[in-house]
């Protein structure tokens, strides 16, 4: 085992060395086979909220602004050459690229952008089940949407007006769901808000009008449940980045073992996600390469609900944080592809700071328990028994290790488990668990997505049933940060919120994992990103 681990490290070092050496000229042509953990759900970017759909759609449909390849938070222009925010932080004026055409040959212009944003505001009620991000980012639809209007100032200038300032606006507009699709295609595919039955929107079901964007690839076909095929856009507007491969086939390969076998047998060129336990095998195979995605984009934590005793005691929560052997967990269960959490959000998220969270210190944990005054140290502790998650590769193993750590400092753990979709998520959300394992993979790299959406934001004006964590000052700081008109103000408020949360220690962040990809050694030019914004037009196949 130790040899394998050394092999994995050496393999990773060699890979980095290989990446640093001068790259030969890219080869053109070939079909790239990408294994995704599951199938896409729909072919209309606005009507999706899952990572598989986003991964495919981002190659075809472009947004006004995007993320720099490899980064989770650095915003770069895409269809907009530039943008400006008004002094009152309510109006964003985007200067668009000219001469860009959609895949159906129609013009990309200010009218097309306005058409798409008007669509976002007025999504029919029946379709709102499928448009999570639009609702989450703009706070609702119609009169409830924070989008006031989108207007064409001239042919290549669009003004998007908000009802109240939102400091996460630009970052959220990098999400693939806000991709700009051809209005002609949207009308053809009934994605123009005239049809409220999703089964009849052909543009969402892989039929006419599906995924007509401006990107480096053009949608070709979707074999539902099996694969999606996209082909090179030879007339892509960004001539420096026309795709190298002729086509990409995204195959849904649910089992991690099958992704590994497919890679080893040469039937898959790129496995978007692999199991941490397979990393050593991949590193040891000279025909394969392990791809590190740099920073992390998730947080794994020991979740706690403060409506239970002793979870309502800050000293107990802090004691638990000191009782955990973080290094052991990271070495054993993540094969090293994780870092100890220093915050409730990973380090790459905007304004995230190192909160000096407790490190492994048994004596300190015992002292805090003594100070807490609690005598009944029995805790009901839960884990999901039928899944692995990118942030939690072995829930049962991790659970057992944490249980041993907690019992070593004097807690009595009552072990419990439930199936992920068969009660676990429902029950933890409803506040039925005292302590449980859970994490969050980021949607966008803003602190609101972790601190507010995932963890501690109030629900309908009250602490969530999930954590029962009440601190009105935290809620106020988070809301003030979102409504901030300047970046400096947003930063101040987010830092305040982080400090307040740190003092309360409502849960115990454990690790930020770095889910790896794996590929054939022939695959070149791939830039991994923890947020999975990975443009495949940069990729080429070094094959005869």
């Amino acid at each position: 085992m130790k040899n394998l681990r050394i092999g994995a490290i050496l393999g990773a070092l060699l890979m980095v060395a290989g990446a640093c050496s001068s790259t030969p000229a890219a080869k053109e042509g070939g079909t790239l086979i990408v294994a995704l953990p599951g199938d896409i759900v729909r072919t209309d970017t606005a009507l999706t909220d899952d990572s598989n759909s986003s991964y495919v759609i981002q190659q075809v449909v472009e947004t006004l602004v995007g993320l720099e390849p490899g980064s989770t938070s650095k915003v770069v222009p895409v269809l907009a050459e530039s943008y400006e925010m008004s002094a009152d932080a309510l109006t964003y004026t985007f200067k668009l690229r000219s001469g860009v055409k959609f895949h159906d040959g129609t013009d990309f212009n200010a009218d097309a952008v306005v058409y798409n944003y008007n669509r976002f505001i007025n999504i029919p009620t029946e379709l709102q089940d499928y448009t999570y991000y639009i609702g989450a980012v703009f706070g609702g639809y119609g009169a409830n949407s924070n989008l006031e209007s989108a207007t064409a100032v001239d042919g290549t200038t669009v003004a998007i007006k908000l009802k109240k300032p939102s400091s996460n606006f630009i970052l959220t507009q990098t999400l693939p769901v806000f991709g700009i699709q051809s209005p002609t295609a949207l009308a053809l595919g009934k994605g123009d808000n005239t049809e409220s039955d999703v089964t009849k929107i052909t543009g969402a079901q892989g039929g006419a009008g599906s995924m007509v964007g401006t990107g480096p690839f053009v949608f070709d076909k979707w074999t539902v449940g099996d694969s999606v095929e996209i082909v090179k856009n030879a007339t892509y507007w960004d001539t420096a980045h026309i795709a190298h491969v002729d086509a990409i086939v995204f195959k849904a390969v649910a089992e991690e073992a099958q992704r590994l076998n497919g890679l080893a047998a040469g039937e898959i060129d790129l496995a978007q996600t692999i199991a941490p336990v397979d990393a050593a095998t991949i590193a040891a195979n000279p025909k394969l390469q392990l791809i590190d995605r740099g920073s992390s984009f998730n947080t794994f934590q020991i979740s706690m609900n403060q409506s239970y005793t002793p979870m309502n005691n800050q000293k107990i929560r802090e004691a638990i944080a000191y009782a955990i052997n973080y290094d052991y967990l990271i070495k054993t269960f993540y094969a090293g592809a994780a870092v100890k959490a220093t915050n409730w959000m990973p380090a790459g998220v905007l304004y995230a700071k190192d909160l000096s969270l407790p490190s492994y210190d048994v004596a300190k944990a015992k002292a805090l328990i003594a100070e807490s005054g609690e005598t009944d140290l029995t805790i009901d502790f839960w884990y999901p028994n039928d899944v692995t998650r990118p942030y939690m590769p072995d829930p049962k193993g991790i659970f057992e290790a944490i249980t041993a750590d907690l019992e070593a400092v004097g807690f009595t753990i009552v072990p419990n488990n439930a199936p992920w979709r068969g009660g676990y998520l429902d029950d933890e959300y409803a506040g039925k668990y005292e302590m449980w394992l859970l994490g969050w993979t980021g949607d966008w790299a803003g602190p609101d997505n972790f601190l507010k959406t995932a963890f501690f934001g109030y629900v309908n004006g009250a602490p969530s049933t999930e954590f029962a964590y009440k601190n009105d000052a935290v809620e106020a700081a988070m809301n003030a940060a979102l409504a901030a008109g300047t970046e400096a103000e947003a930063k101040t408020q987010w830092e305040l919120a982080q400090d307040l949360i740190r003092a309360d220690m409502p849960t115990v962040p454990v690790a930020n994992s770095k889910p790896q990809a794996a590929a054939s050694i022939d695959l070149k030019g791939f830039i991994g990103s923890a947020g999975l914004n990975e443009p495949l037009n940069l990729v080429w196949l070094d094959r005869p």
């Binding site: 086939v249 390969v253 959300y429």
Partner: protein, 334 residues
Amino acid sequence: MGRYIVRRLIAAIPVLIGLSILLFAYIRILPGDPCVAILGQHRTPAACAALREHLGLDLPLWQQYISYLLKTLSGDLGSSVVNSQPFLGEFLTRFPGTIELTAGALIFSIGVGIPLGRLAARKVGGWVDGLITGVSLFGVSIPVFVLGLALVVIFGVILGWLPTQGRIDARARFDATSGILLIDTLFAGRLDLFVDVVRHLVLPSIALGSIPLAIIARITRASVIEVANEDYVRTARSKGLKEKTVDNRHVMRNAWLPVTTVVGLQIGGLLGGAVLTETVFVWNGVGRWVVDAIQNHDYPIVQSTILVFAVIFLIVNLIVDVGYALLNPKIRYQ
């Protein structure tokens, strides 16, 4: 015979109604919530409530059942709650894959099972018989997914002889017409792809065909041994007929009957086995689809797939029974 078939068909109706109730109840008793499956980490109580209403899951169970039954009878078998694709269209695009795999497995199990059974019967008691019986026992005992994974690793990953995933080389980006790729590639004049499809069929067919092969081999062996000991066979032999003639004319002709029945019954088992085989070999068929649907709590798809499989199973059984009656004039159904 006509009346027999009609009676069998009428008898199938209560079976199907009972099955529909069982299926409906069973799937709803299972723990879990489609809301979690659909909305995942983005679920909120309000969004879940809206979704349940939208899917009709907020209605009383009996109302949900009646609505399901009426829709089913009118040919509307529902649509996926995950990607909204209608059941029937999706079933029909996947069924050819399952048929192709089932046929491959059947050809493998008959083509290898019957000669093995005959060989074992001829060498009864010898080491060849012992070996074949042992292999048969192994074939029946080993789970399909274990054998499948072993085949993938040995012949796909280590030796690199055969493909391990899918029905055709994904890089070929072939457009199927009928969905039966063996036919489609031939009609398209792509002999290279036809060979590729056959190569893709080999490992899954062996994995899926292993259990029927073992059963067919054992039944053939037993049947041949039984018939070979009959008086008329001894008489034929004592007449001085060649061993080959005795074997083909007198032994096998009578030994076929139980073998035929078993082969027919295996088809149902193969459909069930396809669920695991398709998952292991990333095969785009109904089996893998239903596994995904179960994992996603996609009620309509699971319900309708099992119902359609049950109908297919009933039809296959009926055909086998009728075939049995036709083959053996001694059997009379009243």
